[in-house]
């Protein structure tokens, strides 16, 4: 039971990093990306490759993961500068689809469908951390650092620039703001932070394959942000915790017929999300509509 709790805590911290970094562009820049799992995956594959081929030191694997994700994110920034709203959603979907194909086929880097095995654990100054309980300290600290970075950014002039651009690009430009540059930097930062989650995930699970980085992960991450509350500080964390705990919590409800539990779980889960969006469109933490 203890291992189970710490496993869950680690997953919440890792998905929390993903949700916080996605909220950074959804909530403050109005960039709705359906490609966040791509940067999660890039972080995971890159850190696994560096860990297996160069050095297992986490002080190398994480920066390498961030760097690769940041560079590839420029591919995503390109459409983000040209199109807005639903058009960008479609463009990011395209990147997600391409990435899944590359992750499945580029065997020397990603191991293809079979994935990468025996990824070294987190290694801090030579000390290996693989027990869920110890790893939880690492993952929670990483989450706190990511939260601190994004909070500092959104409360600075950079955050005001982002929100100004989201509210009116033309007015922002009329006050001298370089709209394409600011949006690009936001996308790059978001991708680099998502790669931190990927690196932690790879070293924690020690095995990765393409199934963790597909469209349904991107959709799940977006659901976490929207259900928790876009543009809020706690929202993405609440969303991540809820969507990770809820499915298993439902299976513990003893009055449900155990043979149908899988289908019921999906129905309750889906119904809950729909009702939430009807009655709290701003998310659990977000402001109520009309206030």
């Amino acid at each position: 039971m203890e291992a189970y709790i710490f496993n869950l805590l680690n997953l919440i911290a890792i998905y929390g990093i993903l949700a916080v970094s996605l909220n950074f562009i959804i909530g403050y820049a109005g960039i709705y990306s359906l490609a966040h799992a791509v940067f999660f995956g890039l972080g995971a594959y890159t850190s696994a490759w560096v860990g297996l081929n160069v050095t297992p030191s986490t002080f190398v694997t994480i920066p390498a993961a961030m760097l690769v994700a940041a560079i590839v994110s420029l591919v995503l920034a390109l459409p983000a500068l040209r199109v807005r709203g639903e058009y960008f959603v479609a463009a990011s979907l395209g990147l997600q689809v391409i990435a899944v194909t590359v992750f499945s086929e580029w065997k020397s880097f990603t191991g293809g469908i079979g994935g990468v095995l025996a990824i070294p654990p987190v290694n801090l100054f030579g000390a290996e951390i693989y027990q869920p309980r110890e790893f939880a300290i690492v993952s929670v600290i990483a989450l706190l650092i990511v939260i601190a970075i994004t909070l500092a950014l959104v409360r600075s002039s950079f955050g005001r620039n982002l929100r100004a651009i989201r509210d009116s690009e033309s007015a922002a430009a009329s006050f001298g703001k370089n709209v394409p540059l600011i949006k690009t930097v936001a996308v790059v930062i978001s991708a680099a932070l998502a790669a931190v989650a990927g690196a932690l995930y790879a070293s924690f699970i020690s095995f990765i394959n393409v199934e963790s980085f597909m469209l349904d992960t991107s959709v799940l991450l977006m659901a976490m942000v929207i259900i928790g509350g876009t543009g809020t500080f706690l929202g993405p964390l609440v969303g991540a915790a809820l969507l990770l705990i809820l499915p298993s919590a439902i299976s513990y409800l003893s009055f449900l017929p155990q043979t149908e539990i899988g289908a019921l779980q999906q129905i309750i889960y889906g119904l809950g999300m729909t009702l939430l969006m009807i009655f709290r469109p701003g998310g659990i933490v977000g402001r109520r509509s009309g206030t």
């Binding site: 600075s156 002039s157 950079f158 005001r160 620039n161 929100r163 100004a164 989201r166 509210d167 009116s168 033309s170 007015a171 922002a172 430009a173 009329s174 006050f175 001298g176 703001k177 370089n178 709209v179 540059l181 600011i182 930097v185 543009g231």
Partner: protein
Amino acid sequence: MTSTTIAHGEPLLQVRNLDKSFGGMKAVDDVTLDLRAGIVTTLVGPNGAGKTTLFNLITGNLARDSGEVEWLGQDIAGGKPHLIARRGIMRTYQDLRLFDSMSVWDNIMSATEYGLLPMPMSSAARHRRKERIEEVLERTGLSDKRDTRALDLAYAERKFLSMARIMATEARLWLLDEPASGLDPNSYERFLKILRDDREAGTTICIIEHNLDIVIGISDRIAFLDRGRLLADAEPDTVLNDPELAKIYFGDQS
């Protein structure tokens, strides 16, 4: 921002033979106009005369077909909007385009900062900026609303916030697109005082306005546009007493 000094009344921005067509329609047709330092030039003309299009061409929101826009002797036509703004030419929009999700204070604050990275500021500079914003809030009557979301403001307050944003900048030229339209007469005085005070402080202002009280109350020069063409650019009395222009503006009432 440049700090080149231009004597009062000398041309600060010079528009030369500017053309812009949409499809077959000439929205701005061979317009040549000077905006002179330290004075208020009012653009008048019927709807569709090309007044806002002229603003959009100056600020780079629209690309010109031909012609030049000279700022302090440099051709700026075809430049990107944010670079033109950084030279000291800023504008308001007829539909305001406030930063709706942000507070009044953050709207004004954000208008004054455009760097990618937070600018390292001395505490004295920080203090000066704060005082400047306080002063702008006071002059626009928004002091009590500083923490209110722009979206939640009343109409007149939104109009004044649009002014407040530009007032807080160090722009030398303001292009104001119908800033007083829809204001109640009680707000006119406050509005005119803002313009007069800033003109006094050396700001050059070009304003699109329909309300004759405002036009008469503030204009040093009036430029009259009709169907993209500049029909007059003169002292207010000359333009307002021209029967031909009155006929175009108010319709033929004979």
